[in-house]
Symmetry: C2
Subunit: 248 residues, 2 copies
């Protein structure tokens, strides 16, 4: 499979690193806008612009949501144009052959991701093109799931809750620990157990703590301990939400 990879950000770089040594997958060009090099250390041609690209089986866009439409328009009319954004519809462009290849994971610079544990959400305008996406996922040793754009948008929203928002709670906890000279690492087994519990029970059944047991005294103590009003807002909103679910 001949692939042209477009984009070299957090996801683009990981896709490059993952695909480069897979035997059934060939990156024939890598579009890196800001690059001054013309070839990667592995010998893959680097180009700066998306016009005048070679012919490929798939044009894989790892660009920002806002650039998908703009980049797509510059690609050949019959190109299979595949974006990687969780929250963007398949039909963002009206080109003939479009697809989505959304790796459900959070990518950061300096952190390599093993794609064999990343679910890839796939979708294509033409049924026939879905095979290309499946083969791409298989070639990367990743598992894949077919989903329409509406479902994917909801999955992407869920991902914000379990990753971005959860990470922010970790941030607040780490800050509380730092200020009080307590090692944040002590919380790691608890964080792990929060996930592990869900192997055997639902999040609702797994809930513990002052909110669910309506322990007003502890809640009021905690609110007294929190100096930052925004953190107090987080505490209040989540405590209320936990208690609301309990009576549903």
């Amino acid at each position: 499979m001949k692939i042209i990879l477009i984009g070299s950000g957090k996801l683009g770089s990981q896709l490059y690193k993952t695909i480069i040594y897979k035997k059934d997958l060939d990156i024939i060009q890598w579009v890196v806008r800001s690059s001054k090099k013309t070839v990667t250390p592995e010998g893959i041609p680097i180009v700066q612009k998306v016009d005048k690209l070679q012919k490929a089986d798939i044009y894989l866009l790892a660009v920002s949501d806002n650039s998908i439409l703009k980049v797509s328009k510059k690609l050949p009319n019959n190109a299979f144009i595949v974006h990687t954004a969780g929250g963007v519809s398949l039909n963002i462009t009206n080109q003939k052959r479009t697809g989505v290849f959304y790796p459900l994971q959070s990518f950061s610079i300096g952190r390599d991701i093993d794609f064999s544990s990343v679910p890839i959400i796939i979708e294509s305008k033409n049924k026939k093109d879905l095979i290309i996406l499946k083969n791409l996922a298989k070639g990367m040793k990743a598992s894949f799931y077919e989903m329409n754009s509406k479902q994917r948008a909801k999955l992407h929203l869920s991902a914000i809750f379990v990753n971005n928002f959860t990470n922010h709670l970790f941030y607040e906890a780490a800050l509380i620990c730092k200020i009080n000279d307590v090692p944040f690492n002590l919380l790691k087994p608890l964080m792990q157990e929060t996930i592990d519990k869900l192997e055997t029970m639902s999040p609702r059944a797994a809930q513990t703590g002052p909110a669910i047991r309506k322990d007003k005294k502890t809640i009021s103590n905690h609110l007294d301990l929190i100096k930052d009003y925004r953190v107090r807002e987080i505490y209040k909103v989540l405590t209320l939400a936990i208690q609301k679910n309990d009576v549903q």
Copy 2:
């Protein structure tokens, strides 16, 4: 070490199961208020009341926060009275010998916890009694950390963020998935990576997603997708908090 264990709730049961087969630790009586039995399957005497208990090296209270004071008052004047509550001060009772043995973990019925990965936070009124707490933790193969009540209260507050609140975010994500016929399990690798990332970066550096990149379009799409106003509140409060940290 002779131990009298008081309480048979989520934590009490786990303490019993863990201590019962440890060679240096002997539970000589287990106080189970509601029990009609007089002995456990392992041959440990069960009693219903805390008055007239035998003499022990440690009276380990795994009771609700509200019952700690009441139970403590009924124990012998020279007893080493140790509670297990993260958010309760060492000085809740003015008895001579008090201590805290707080396992930093979330306990649920039907889920066995391996104490070798649970940090135990310890504190005692008399320095000498701290040795008993250390030996108890060692006997349970657990690691232990000395901390004063103020620090412990903050650690307990942090635990609410990384466990109760995080679990609630998982609850909301699971609900969104369920309503939209998307398997919640697809999110598990992302949940795991959210924790694993913190081995190599801070929560602040690990943050990704629409909030941190000020992606108003995606945020607005997400708010449109959320029907429940309380969930929208959670989304807004956490998005704002993430953005606020970015400019600090």
